[in-house]
């Protein structure tokens, strides 16, 4: 066996390490350890000159093992592995000791910290001695992409990827794509009509040769890993024949069963068979099985739609026999864009939402101001009158530790939008109750100024109560909004006819389940967590899975679109490379001890081990492209036949023994 020649490098990390640990002393100590040929300390090992020290020493001193003691391996283990490789060694003949996070940052006793740093270095030296060269392999990446959620975020990402002639599977839970944006009337700050800018995109998605659209569908299962995910989708029964439905809507006209339209926020009705809205993509009917009398009576009642559908898309067969379908396919990368829910303000009893007819949320107002909406674009009270005064209440459920502590980021701006629309579409006076005006985006401050010019009354204060109890004639029959005007230092009571609660954006009620399926992490506020808030904002801790739009936190459309495009770029860069590097530190099976019990096969989340008969006996073998080196199989293997390269029993025990040695 060749002689082991180890080089040790202690990093100062400026004062981060050297301020607490006596790095010179550690370096001197390391030089005394067996097989250490050279030991140095340097201000910044990660800098080019620092890395050059390693490369030169490998060449000049014939090093064949390297240890760097510095920061956490998360950032710089790859840096130093690469330096070792550039110096001509196998990159796995390297070991990293963390003397910053594990030592200098958490201790202030210099002497003890220095001693601990020595211990950590000694353990690393003992371990690196036993390292073997490992080979990194490449595996092909499946170029197909799964996008989950067909709001503006999901659609934009899907289009960007599909326009590059890559196959996209877009899975949307609702019967149509569009998300919240298709419910909006006009969009701040430019007041573009949301429908006008969105329907062309929806249509593009619907007809794109490279997009396979699954609506009224949900992803049920994801397995595998980057480059090679296996997806199972449940396509819910629409109870119509999709290949025959021409979207004429005659069935909906004739269907006698009504309920509140989700799309119109309950301001209009839909039927048991319905097309969610005029521009729905796909433009197909869907039957609500909980409302349809034919389905509920097992074919004994109603059936009006069957009689009128000339295309024969609805039949007794589709209504009674059609079941959910499970569709399976493979992709290499996944983009999750499942958006947000609007906060339900009925949990704030003093605002009277659900109690007073004319206390509404933002999405109600969007539908009301929309020319194609239930009121034909008129702002109307429940009884059909026009309001004389409208109050806009900010921060409902946002910036409030009793509900959500975060700022929802769009409410100030959409409240201003409503102030403008109220002025444009009615004669009402507008009272806007705010705590701080947050108008940070492009053109936002200008929009604020414009609304001020239009004569909106701004009152600085968080609304305490909305009541119909009148204290004066002027208040009779009105909703009275009570708040301190904190700038006047006076309590004000403003009698109005309509109140719009600018409700928070919150994480979807099923975010927990989605997180589980896609192996995502959630922040304390419930939204999905990005890998790094500044430097890796659309990646997640799971390689190959990206997040875009409001599922990551509240944001406006410009930010949502930018993020969606970022996820597309991430996916496209993986696709254009075409391969993924597989883990080198994978597990191996010692066939002479393996009993073929199959526990490894059961535990592995990546389907890497397979038990098969070899020369008449059952033994396990590992598919190295699938193995992530997580070690689960090695733990459950009852005979100790499985070990993980780079983390062998011999190495770990040597490291532990070195740590418990008294220096």
């Amino acid at each position: 066996m060749e002689e082991i020649r180890i080089g040790v490098y202690i990093c100062h990390c400026g004062f981060n390490i050297a301020g607490v640990v006596n790095v010179e002393e550690v370096a001197k100590y390391a030089a005394t350890l067996p097989s250490v040929v050279i030991s140095r300390e340097y201000r910044y090992m990660c800098s080019d000159p620092g890395q050059d020290l390693i490369k030169n020493d490998i060449k000049k001193l014939g090093l064949n093992r390297v240890v760097v003691a510095s920061c956490s391996p998360r950032m710089h283990e790859p840096t130093f592995r690469k330096a070792v490789a550039d110096g001509g060694l196998n990159p796995y003949l390297y070991e990293h000791a963390n003397i910053r996070e594990h030592c200098s940052w958490v201790h202030d006793d210099k002497e003890l910290a220095t001693k601990k740093a020595k211990d950590l270095v000694r353990a690393a030296v003992k371990r690196v001695y036993r390292h073997e060269p490992l080979v990194v392999k490449e595996a092909p990446l499946n170029p197909n992409v799964l996008v989950v959620g067909g709001g503006i975020a999901g659609m934009q990402a899907a289009l960007d990827i599909a326009n590059g002639q890559n196959k996209v599977y877009l899975v949307e839970r609702d019967p149509s794509i569009g998300g919240h944006m298709i419910q909006l009337d006009r969009t701040f700050p430019t007041l573009d009509c949301s429908e006008c800018i969105l329907t062309p995109k929806m249509s593009d998605v619907g007809h794109h040769p490279f997009i396979e659209l699954f609506t009224y569908s949900e992803v049920e299962e994801v397995s595998g890993s980057i480059g090679n995910f296996k997806i199972k989708v449940r396509k819910k029964a629409r109870h119509i024949d999709e290949s025959k439905c021409i979207g004429c809507n005659v069935c909906e006209e004739k269907c006698p069963w009504k309920t509140d339209s989700e799309f119109e926020m309950g301001l209009a009705k839909r039927k048991a068979v319905y097309i969610p809205f005029a521009q729905a993509i796909p433009h197909l009917a869907v039957v609500d099985p909980n409302l349809c009398a034919y389905i509920k009576s097992d074919g004994k009642k109603c059936g009006a739609c069957i009689k009128v559908c000339e295309a024969q898309a609805i039949t007794p067969e589709t209504l009674l026999k059609q079941t959910d379908q499970i569709v399976e396919f493979d992709v290499g990368t996944i983009i999750v864009a499942t958006g947000y829910d609007q906060f339900d303000p009925s949990v704030i009893p003093q605002y009277g939402y659900g109690k007073y007819d004319n206390v509404l949320t933002g999405l109600h107002f969007e539908r009301m101001t929309c020319a194609a909406g239930p009121t034909g674009g008129k702002i109307l009270l429940k009884d059909g009158r026009e309001p004389e005064r409208i109050a806009l209440v900010h921060c409902v459920g946002s910036r409030d530790q009793n509900y959500h502590e975060y700022c929802s980021r769009v409410c100030c701006m959409y409240a201003l939008k409503y102030a403008h629309l109220a002025k444009e579409l009615s004669k009402a006076d507008v009272y806007q109750f705010y705590i701080d005006m947050r108008c940070f985006g492009e053109g936002y401050e200008e929009f604020y100024k414009r609304c001020s010019e239009e004569g909106v009354n701004f009152i600085r204060g968080k609304v305490a109560k909305i009541t119909d109890e009148a204290l004066s004639d002027e208040e009779k029959g009105k909703l009275v909004v009570i708040s301190e005007d904190t700038l006047l230092g006076k309590l004000v009571r403003v009698p109005v006819d309509m109140v719009i609660l600018c409700s928070a954006l919150e994480a979807r009620s099923d975010a927990e389940n989605v997180a589980r399926i896609f192996n995502l992490n959630r922040r304390a506020d419930g939204f999905f967590l990005e890998r790094h808030v500044k430097l890796d904002p659309v990646a997640t801790p799971t390689d190959g899975i990206f997040i875009a739009g409001c599922c990551e936190g509240p944001r406006d459309i410009p930010d949502t679109v930018a993020q969606a495009e970022a996820t597309a770029a991430k996916a496209l860069s993986l696709i254009s490379k075409g391969t993924i590097t597989t883990e080198a530190a994978v597990s191996t099976v010692d066939e002479s001890i393996c009993h073929g019990c199959g526990r490894c096969e059961e535990i592995c989340a990546f389907h890497a081990p397979k038990v098969a008969s070899k020369n008449g006996t059952l033994v396990s073998s590992i598919n190295e492209t699938l193995c992530k080196g997580c070690g689960a199989c090695a733990v459950v293997c009852p005979t100790g036949a499985i070990s993980i390269k780079h983390f062998t029993q011999d190495e770990i025990l040597a490291e532990v023994a070195a740590l418990t040695e008294v220096s």
Partner: protein, 383 residues
């Protein structure tokens, strides 16, 4: 231009008492909008928080003494500011450091409490006289329950009905209970909120020593204020007892089938949540449960009940201070009760008793509206 010249020592006291949350106040004004005072006059809670943050409190202002510590604002503050702690600290600065004026009425009560151990200035040895003819035993080690009625039901001729009813119920049910000796003093809850910290400390020490040396394990109280301080403040000072409010105790006896209410009271009864039972300690259901168990009683609710219940005006030491007519919360409440067609306002706190009694009298409603403690109603219904 006004020059900000913070009174350093006082500012430190307040900032320390307000702790981190005070720094978090973002001046939204929700507290002002919620505070019941603004039903009757202007009281800018938010501005006081800002003054406290900057160390620019006006210690001479009557606003220092206004807060009734009802907790309505604290319950809803979006930033979790402990507004009552800040109010208390401001008062402490005035009373302790002498940088402002303590209102006369409060000064007298404070003197009484410090001197004779009760705010009414009554003789300490007469503390248990209310029970003289009821045959209540003195608490001795081994007695199961200590009944602690609070100073007002011990001395006030009207409010004695509360303690006497309680003893009557206990006697009928054969409960093993007793009264502690007349060395007992006021629980100190309200005087602490009124800024007299030293007085509170000495009252608490006295009571803790007395209870401990007598081997007290369980205390049943009539006042939510005693309940609050025994349960939430005494433990830090070494006094650890099981504390039970009389409504909790009676409700549990009903649950266990030990207390049966058979006599009818055919009345419309409206229940007023005491702040210190409700918002401070989240006891809302037990009192209602008892009232609903009385045959004949039709229980009705105030427009603002439970978490939103309106204070009677007596917390935070306000019970000893004068509140001019037109500014009394209990007047509003009586008005509401009349509006709802109630015959009886049921209460579960001696301060509420005093305030509602006065309101009913001064508003000339004594003929048609009765004020009764839940214990009184139970004693009547028990037959």
């Amino acid at each position: 231009m006004e020059v900000l010249s913070p009174y350093k020592e006082a500012t430190d006291v307040i900032l320390e008492a307000g702790g981190e949350p005070l720094k978090l106040c973002y001046q939204c004004g929700l507290c002002t909008g919620i505070c019941p005072w603004n039903l009757v006059r202007s009281f800018l809670v938010r501005r006081i928080m800002h003054e406290a943050q900057l160390g620019a409190v006006d210690f001479g202002s009557e606003d220092v003494w206004t807060c009734v510590t009802c907790r309505a604002c604290v319950q809803r503050c979006p930033r979790g500011v402990e507004i009552i702690d800040v109010m208390r600290a401001i008062r402490r600065a005035v009373a302790g450091l002498g940088i402002g004026v303590v209102p006369d009425a409060l000064r007298i009560s404070a003197k009484n409490i410090a001197g004779v151990g009760n705010p009414l200035g009554e003789a300490p040895e007469k503390r248990n006289d209310w029970a003289k003819d009821l045959g209540v035993k003195k608490f001795a080690s081994g007695t199961k329950i200590l009944y602690f009625p609070c100073c007002v039901p011990s001395y006030d001729p009207d409010v004695k009905a509360v303690s006497r009813s309680t003893a009557t119920i206990f006697n009928k049910l054969g409960i093993d209970y007793g009264l502690i000796g007349t060395e007992a003093k006021c629980c100190g809850e309200a005087i602490r909120k009124a800024g007299h910290e030293d007085t509170f400390q000495s009252l608490a020490q006295n009571n803790i020593n007395l209870f401990t040396s007598n081997g007290v394990k369980t205390v049943v109280v009539s006042s939510p204020h005693c309940y609050h301080t025994f349960k939430n403040e005494y433990p830090e000072l070494g006094g650890k007892f099981e504390v039970v409010h009389i409504t909790q105790y009676l409700a549990s006896l009903i649950d266990e089938g030990k207390l049966k209410l058979s006599k009818k009271i055919n009345k419309k009864v409206i229940y007023s949540d005491p702040c210190y039972l409700g918002r401070h300690n989240e006891i809302y259901d037990e009192p209602r449960k008892i009232l609903q168990s009385i045959p004949g009683v039709e229980l009705i609710e105030f427009p603002d009940a439970r978490e939103n219940g309106l204070c009677c005006g007596g917390g935070g030491g306000r019970i000893w201070m004068d509140t001019p007519k037109g500014e009394r919360f209990s007047d509003i409440r009586v008005e509401q009760a009349v509006g709802k067609g109630a015959d009886i306002i049921a209460i579960a706190c001696p301060y509420c008793f005093l305030n509602y009694r006065d309101s009913v009298l001064s508003m000339g409603k004594a003929e048609t509206m009765q004020v009764k403690d839940i214990a009184e109603l139970v004693a009547e219904a028990i037959g």
